[in-house]
């Protein structure tokens, strides 16, 4: 006894079928077998010639069913069920449904004789063509809807096709749809499968796996068939019910949004979210064909909620209601105040007590009142300020580096120098305060550790190339990126622990998940890296389509990072798989911040965005007059964001 069986790759039986009828064999004294059309799980379909028509060559299809059961009662009941359904089909009359000519039971096998259809099924057509015109798919879909609609309207019981899939749709020589392989064979296939098998039906509706079936099941399978035709992605080799992960719009640029919406609606997981009838689906398809375009919008509104499939991404031009709300909301965002400096603001702000602090490329650090934006003090350096000020609450200092080569600690209340420290080149790295020390890098190629109280150097580590990334400090290590492309970890006493080499400069700042001991960092080589913080081993990396300048942010199990390709990516922190991405209009070089489940980030498209951190859906946006190159700063209910339009904006955070 074989223990487990691999699922047959294609068209072969679960159990070996004896090949039965040989060519030229005359079945039932009437049908001369001329060939085999196909072999399926339940038996064989032959082509045969009907000998009752002596003068013309009338070809028929003979379907042979095996009744694999030793129990005569079961067998007889199976044959009866089969016969009953065959009888129903015999009463049907529809151009897309092949006619049944004969039905008989012979030598433990049951035979149906039906119309022979000359043509190709859609699966074969998919294999043989490179690109199916969307118009053709829509035409076929309409014809299939029509045939299914006819079946579903049968009295007293609707007939459910049950097995809608490309291989069961023939396109005949006239280009017309003909449905083949009706679900009657299904009643034979009730054996419990005991062995592990690979592969699923792919097109069946979820309720069919609960033993339920309805006209909506056919609608789902039609949706799955259309999805396959449009995307050319075979659902049998994909995760079941993962259609929404293979977006039609991404895979077939020719598919109009309205058609995508129709297919997505047919593919809703819950029956009540699908079309109520094939007639309704047909009506939408016909409207699409005749060019009436507002159906996409109608469907978008009526799509239902609660399941992933019923919330397909809305295609262009079909905006859901919520998006309208967002637009109106963003129009209402007004800054509580804005403060103009004399040059571009390239860094983040900071706040301490009632003061907001920001550095500007005008060489000054500015301190303004947090509630009004009025100037309190400013401190001029001799170079532009690109690094962000940080607050040392213990010593009441604000700490920052300047392009004048100096690192400053100013009394935060008065703006007077507490101490300064001189490096040999410009400082663009934002400092990190940890363990009572200040850590920062300089363009002079060194990473510095200073005593935060008096600025005395404890050590400096020779990196060799400019350090513009902001160090991250754990209980054991200082981790920083360098222009050489290296990510370097140095012990708290200043000795090299490990380094990891990326292919281009690392300006992005590392962030460490202290629980997991994992470090995330972007590189100008386009990748974001996940490194073991203890050893520097690279667990995974994710490629974006542009250099990464921005620093990552951690939120729950997501790593969120912007790329100069314009996208903000949210990746699963453990696997590096993309969970969502959000497209801004220009490169993103600034880090994001997450506050109360909302994510804020600025883009060089001049806009500050607020997204739902879990889903990446936009909630509102605020446009400044210049590129945004630094992370927002949040204090209380205020968000501070600087822009290259010289302004520092204070936006109220409202629910």
């Amino acid at each position: 006894m074989p223990e487990t069986q691999k699922f047959p790759t294609r068209a072969t039986a679960d159990t070996p079928q004896e090949s039965s009828l040989q060519p030229n064999f005359v079945l039932h004294d009437r049908y001369r077998i001329t060939g085999v059309i196909g072999v399926g799980g339940m038996g064989t379909v032959y082509q045969a010639r009907d000998l009752h028509f002596t003068d013309v060559k009338k070809l028929v299809a003979v379907k042979e069913m095996h009744t694999n059961t030793p129990d005569p009662t079961v067998r007889s009941s199976m044959v009866k069920t089969f016969q009953r359904e065959a009888n129903i089909l015999a009463t049907l009359s529809h151009p897309a449904i092949p006619k049944i000519f004969d039905f008989f039971d012979l030598n433990d096998r049951v035979y149906i004789v039906m119309e022979f259809i000359n043509g190709s099924d859609l699966e074969l057509i998919l294999q043989k063509t490179k690109d199916l015109p969307v118009e053709k798919i829509v035409d076929w879909a309409i014809e299939i809807c029509d045939a299914l609609s006819y079946l579903h309207s049968q009295e007293p019981q609707p007939i459910i096709f049950r097995d809608m899939k490309p291989s069961n749709v023939m396109i005949d020589t006239l280009g017309k749809v003909r449905l083949i392989d009706f679900g009657i064979a299904k009643s034979f296939d009730s054996r419990v499968r005991q062995h592990t098998m690979i592969g699923t039906e792919g097109y069946s509706a979820p309720e069919q796996y609960r033993g339920e079936i309805s006209p909506q099941s056919d609608i789902f399978s039609l949706g799955a068939t259309l999805h396959h035709l449009l995307t050319r992605k075979d659902p049998r080799i994909e995760a079941p019910f993962s259609f929404h992960e293979r977006r039609i719009g991404d895979l077939n640029p020719n598919a109009p949004p309205a058609l995508i919406a129709i297919v997505n609606k047919a593919l809703a997981l819950n029956q009540s979210d699908r079309y109520p009838s094939c007639a309704a689906m047909k009506a939408d398809l016909e409207a699409l064909r005749s060019g009436r375009s507002q159906i996409a919008l109608n469907i978008g509104m009526a799509g239902g909620a609660g399941t992933p499939l019923s919330q397909p991404p809305m295609p262009n031009g079909s905006i859901g209601t919520s998006a309208f709300e967002h637009i109106s909301a963003s129009a209402s965002i007004q800054p509580r105040w804005k403060f103009k400096t004399e040059d571009e603001i390239r860094c983040s702000a900071a706040a301490f007590k009632d003061l907001a602090l920001v550095g500007s490329y005008d060489t000054n650090v500015w301190a303004v009142k947090l509630d009004t934006g009025e100037l309190v003090w400013k401190f001029p350096t001799r170079g532009g300020i690109a690094s962000s000020p940080i607050i040392d609450e213990t010593n009441r200092n604000v700490l920052f580096g300047s392009e004048d080569f100096h690192f400053y600690a100013l009394d935060v209340a008065k703006g007077r120098v507490s101490w300064t420290f001189s490096t040999k080149d410009r400082i663009r790295s934002t400092a990190r305060l940890a363990h009572d020390h200040v850590f920062f890098g300089s363009d002079d190629g060194r990473l510095y550790a200073l005593n935060a109280l008096n600025g005395r150097p404890i050590w400096s580590f020779d990196v060799g190339t400019p350090v513009r990334s902001r160090p991250f400090v754990t209980n054991e290590l200082v981790i920083v990126g360098a222009d050489s492309g290296e990510v370097i970890a140095v012990s708290l006493s200043g000795n090299r622990k490990w380094s990891y080499r990326t292919k281009r400069s690392v300006i992005s700042s590392p962030i460490v998940d202290m629980n997991e001991g994992v470090c995330y960092i972007g590189s100008s080589d386009n990748f974001i890296y996940c490194l073991d913080a203890n050893t520097g081993f690279n667990s995974w990396r994710f490629r974006t389509n542009g250099p990464i300048i921005a620093s990552p942010t951690l939120y729950k199990s997501l790593v969120i990072i912007g790329s100069t390709d314009g996208n903000l990516y949210a990746l699963n922190a453990q696997s590096g798989r993309e969970k969502w991405k959000f497209k801004s209009e220009k490169p993103i070089v600034a880090a994001s911040i997450v506050h109360r489940e909302l994510l804020y980030f600025g883009s060089t498209d001049q806009t500050l965005y607020c997204l739902d951190a879990e889903s990446g859906k936009e909630l509102w946006r605020f446009k400044t007059g210049g590129a945004i190159t630094a992370m927002p700063y949040i204090i209380g209910d205020l968000l501070l964001i600087g822009s290259m339009d010289h302004h520092l904006y204070a936006l109220p955070l409202v629910n």
């Binding site: 487990t4 592969g199 992933p308």
Partner: protein, 360 residues
């Protein structure tokens, strides 16, 4: 009574039945079920009778034993308890206390592997592979481990061939592309570990398609480097993380019913009885391309990682896996007990378990 001794000693204990071994006599299986359910896995003497061939590999070399002992060098000289704190013990990873016993504290991961044909099947289509390297030197080479479980499927011995081939193919790739660069100090320019793992599985899939075209297999495994687990997974074998009083399934079954459960289209109860509960939508040998789930997780101190085939998890619920592992003194004992539990419940399928335990 070798089994008894082993269980008490808790050091070795590989139940490595291969398909060459004689299947159990048919009558022993039902007896095992009835008595086993009363004995709750404690009455060792009964179990020994019930499962006679647990002892058969008495003379087989026991890999896990030597590997498990490859820990820190144990100081054999008697020590003055008061002076221990001052000893500059090379490689000690935590502060020493005056309790001399703590010197024997495990400082590397230990593991055990066990596989059993089960009570019904006529061959064992599961395969397991383990590899572990620990070093102590000034070079600070991190511990490296590779642990794989594969559950093959396919008639005519294709299933066991598929599982065996895939574990061999993956392990040789991983050792060549991850382990060797690591110990030769050449790993700085290596790609991401998860990418190498994916390549290893893709290579194994290609090997499988060409050498055992009618076979298929699951594969769940991990590379552990310096306490970080890099997991690769395809199919419905599982990897659990057991930490303190909590068990977490880290992998997602690529089965039809699991997918239906995730989409709220089926309840877990309905899934158990579902006629298609054995249908996988992803496995090696299915097609030319294979999508591999990868995951990176730090393994906390004294946590355990359990890799098993569905022969175990179908019969032993998560909570019981947790309790059994927690109650066992060693990975070897836990593996034995888990396999016995599955056998007591019918052992309908092959059962394979790999269990790692992280140092404190």
């Amino acid at each position: 009574m070798n089994f008894l001794r082993r269980l008490v000693g808790g050091q070795s204990g590989n139940i490595t039945h291969t398909s060459q071994e004689k299947p159990e006599p048919d009558e022993s299986a039902p007896a095992g079920i009835s008595t086993g359910s009363q004995s709750s896995g404690i009455e060792i003497s009964k179990s020994t009778e019930l499962l006679p061939n647990l002892d058969q590999e008495e003379n087989a070399p026991d890999e896990s034993e030597t590997l498990e002992l490859s820990g820190e060098p144990i100081v054999t000289k008697p020590l003055d308890p008061d002076s221990i704190a001052d000893l500059n013990l090379d490689g000690a990873t935590r502060e020493l206390t005056t309790d001399i016993e703590t010197l024997q504290t495990q400082s590397h991961l230990i593991y055990s592997v066990a596989s059993h044909i089960g009570a019904v099947r006529s061959n064992n289509q599961d395969a397991a592979y383990t590899f572990f390297s620990a070093a102590r030197s000034v070079d600070d080479i991190p511990d490296f481990g590779l642990f794989l479980v594969a559950d093959g499927m396919g008639g005519h011995h294709d299933g066991e061939k598929a599982a065996a081939l895939v574990t061999r193919s993956v392990s040789s790739y991983v050792i060549k592309h991850i382990f060797l660069p690591m110990i030769s100090g050449d790993s700085a320019n290596q790609g991401a570990i998860s990418e190498s793992l994916i390549k290893a599985v893709e290579k194994a899939n290609a090997d499988l398609n060409s050498k055992v075209p009618d076979g298929g297999t699951t594969l769940s495994g991990c590379v552990v480097i310096a306490g970080m687990a890099h997991i690769a997974h395809v199919g419905d074998s599982r990897i659990y993380l057991i930490h303190r009083n909590h068990i977490e399934q880290m992998t997602r079954d690529h089965s039809l019913v699991q997918r239906l459960i995730e989409l709220d289209q089926l309840t877990p109860e309905e899934a158990k009885e579902h006629p298609q509960h054995n249908v996988l939508y992803r496995a090696l040998g299915q097609s030319e391309a294979v999508e591999v789930d990868t995951l990176t997780r730090r393994l906390p101190p004294s946590s355990r990682l359990l890799i098993c085939s569905d022969g175990l998890w179908n019969l032993v619920p998560d909570q019981e896996l947790l309790e059994t592992v927690r109650q066992s003194k060693s990975p070897a004992e836990a593996c034995d007990r888990l396999i016995r539990l599955a056998l007591q419940r019918g052992g309908q399928d092959n059962i394979t378990v790999v269990l790692l335990q992280m140092p404190d």
